[in-house]
């Protein structure tokens, strides 16, 4: 991870506060291209804030963030949509729209201006990858929590992003479903996508061999292999 050409995400002395409450303090780390890493720590440790800084939902108070060589601090507002299109996000609260599963996943491609005729096969292939091909015409409200989570993953990966950020993707899921979600992440990672998973579920990390960043009180406390 030393060569900057191979670095996908880098934080250098990044701090972020909400009012007088510091969420991140002087955080520095880097993540190589094609890696699958975990961001762990208790609730309120700053995991979600760190992800939000990467996908530009928040701006840092101090420090420098780079994504695939692009310094995010200086990005103009008008460029933000194009940067976000390179990032797939699995939101903690899903953020699924009241449309069919197909339309939710296709949205990522429609935003990119892709033709409808090209969208259909790509969306169906992606739904197949997350085992939801048969639910394409269902509404998210008719799906289980695990299925909804897989729709969110499908929506995040359908545009073949360089980076996939997942915020508590297995929260509130039973262990079998959580293991299934992790299998999907490994498959996507095997295709070359860099993945950063924020989770407080330490069971999920055991013996994975992946790199872990442990946050506590907004500070990066540990960097270790699981």
């Amino acid at each position: 991870m030393e060569n900057s050409d191979h670095i996908m995400i880098a934080f250098e002395g990044v701090s972020k506060s909400y009012g007088h409450n510091p969420a991140l303090r002087d955080v520095s780390f880097s993540m190589g291209k094609g890696e699958l890493c975990f961001l762990t720590g208790p609730s309120g440790a700053g995991k979600s804030t760190l992800l939000k800084l990467i996908y530009l939902a928040e701006r840092p108070d101090e420090g420098i963030i780079t994504l695939n060589g692009v310094e995010m601090n200086t990005v103009r507002e008008s460029r933000i949509p194009w940067i976000r299109r390179k990032i797939g996000i699995v939101f903690q609260d899903f953020k699924l729209l009241p449309r069919t599963v197909f339309d939710n996943v296709a949205l990522t491609l429609r935003i990119r201006g892709m033709h409808e005729a090209d969208i259909r096969p790509i969306v169906h292939d992606t739904l197949k990858l997350v085992n939801l091909r048969h639910k394409a015409d269902s509404l998210p409200t008719a799906l289980s929590g695990g299925e909804q989570q897989r729709v969110v993953i499908a929506r995040a990966i359908v545009g073949e992003p360089s980076v996939l950020l997942a915020d508590e993707p297995t929260g509130n899921l039973d262990p079998d479903t959580a293991a299934g979600i992790m299998r999907v992440f490994r498959e996507i990672n095997a295709r070359g996508t860099t993945i950063l998973v924020a989770t407080h579920n330490t069971e999920l990390l055991k013996s994975t061999g992946n790199f872990i960043f442990r946050l506590d009180g907004g500070r990066l406390k540990e960097e270790l292999y699981a």
């Binding site: 996908y55 530009l56 939902a57 507002e77 933000i80 949509p81 194009w82 940067i83 976000r84 299109r85 996000i89 939101f91 953020k95 729209l97 009241p98 449309r99 949205l107 990522t108 429609r110 935003i111 990119r112 201006g113 409808e116 929506r155």
Partner: protein
């Protein structure tokens, strides 16, 4: 891509159908009042512009003028740009005319030794130049001519017409402006409510990499379609009310037959609704920040 935006807008309209129906009805009422106000202004304008076509002034001449002097006055009056034509009536012709008018009671004229009627000129004016100021100025100029004893014209009538015209334009303009603003405000507030209700959806779209126009487009289409629906409803209402009014009051109020409904209203109202809907929506969405 437009097909996608239209389908999102249509499903949005369907999902929030009651608020959208109420909005379309409010716009229809606003546009209906706007149309009635415009038709009022239009008809008053038409009626007041028709009256001066028959408008003329009569110039009474002093007795004993020679033919050359009469010719000179005629030429002088004709020089004025407001004048369409000048028709001379001699003393004898005036008497003949009076006798024709009073042929059943010509005993009144018996015993007249001299012809008491003056020679006169009937001055017809160009329609476009008939205003109370221009006619008053022209009358003063003619009165100053040598050989002219008096100028008569419908001064009071002209003043009333001008006053009605000006006030109608002023009040009508204000009313039309206020109603147009009301329609924009209705669209604005409706789309603002819809936008707030879809705030989470908009946030998600932003995070997925949508541009501002991708987010705005369905709202603008939605606002435009609601405005268009309001416009179509108001056009139907105007046509219905005007024709029902003709039928109901034609016998008792003959002047109603002279009211006119320009056919342009049928596409002018929906087009106005569409434009005001889009404008209201655009203002309601405002600047989208990422």
């Amino acid at each position: 891509m437009m097909g996608y935006h239209v389908s999102v807008a249509l499903s949005g309209i369907w999902r929030e159908k009651w608020i959208n129906i109420l909005c379309a009805l409010s716009i229809a009422v606003g546009l209906f009042l706007l149309a009635i106000a415009s038709l009022g202004v239009y008809n008053i304008e038409m009626a007041t512009s028709r009256l001066p076509e028959k408008f003329s002034m009569t110039v009474y001449l002093k007795d004993g003028l020679s033919a050359d002097e009469v010719q000179g006055i005629t030429e002088e009056i004709n020089k004025s740009p407001e004048v369409k034509s000048v028709q001379y009536t001699s003393k004898d012709d005036a008497l003949k005319e009076l006798k024709t008018i009073m042929r059943n009671s010509d005993y009144i004229l018996e015993g007249l030794d001299d012809n008491p009627l003056p020679a006169s000129m009937t001055v017809a004016l160009k329609e476009a130049s008939v205003t109370d100021i221009s006619v008053k100025k022209l009358a003063e100029n003619i009165e100053d001519l040598k050989g002219v004893s008096e100028v008569e014209y419908g001064r009071r009538l002209l003043e009333v017409i001008e006053s009605v015209r000006k006030n109608t334009q002023l009040i009508g303009g204000f009313l039309i402006g206020a109603l147009a603003a009301a329609v924009i405000f209705i669209c604005y507030s409706t789309v603002k409510i819809l936008f707030y209700r879809k705030m989470n959806e908009v946030e998600t779209l932003k995070l997925l990499g949508s541009t501002r126009w991708f987010i705005r487009a369905p709202f603008l289409i939605e606002g435009g379609l609601i405005g268009l629906a309001g416009g179509l409803l108001s056009a139907a209402a105007v046509v219905g009310v005007v024709y029902a009014g003709y039928r109901r009051f034609e016998a008792s109020l003959p002047m109603i037959g002279s009211l006119s409904l320009p056919p342009e209203v049928l596409y002018w109202l929906p087009a106005t609704g569409l434009c005001l809907g889009i404008i209201g929506s655009f203002i309601a969405i405002g600047r989208i920040r990422f």
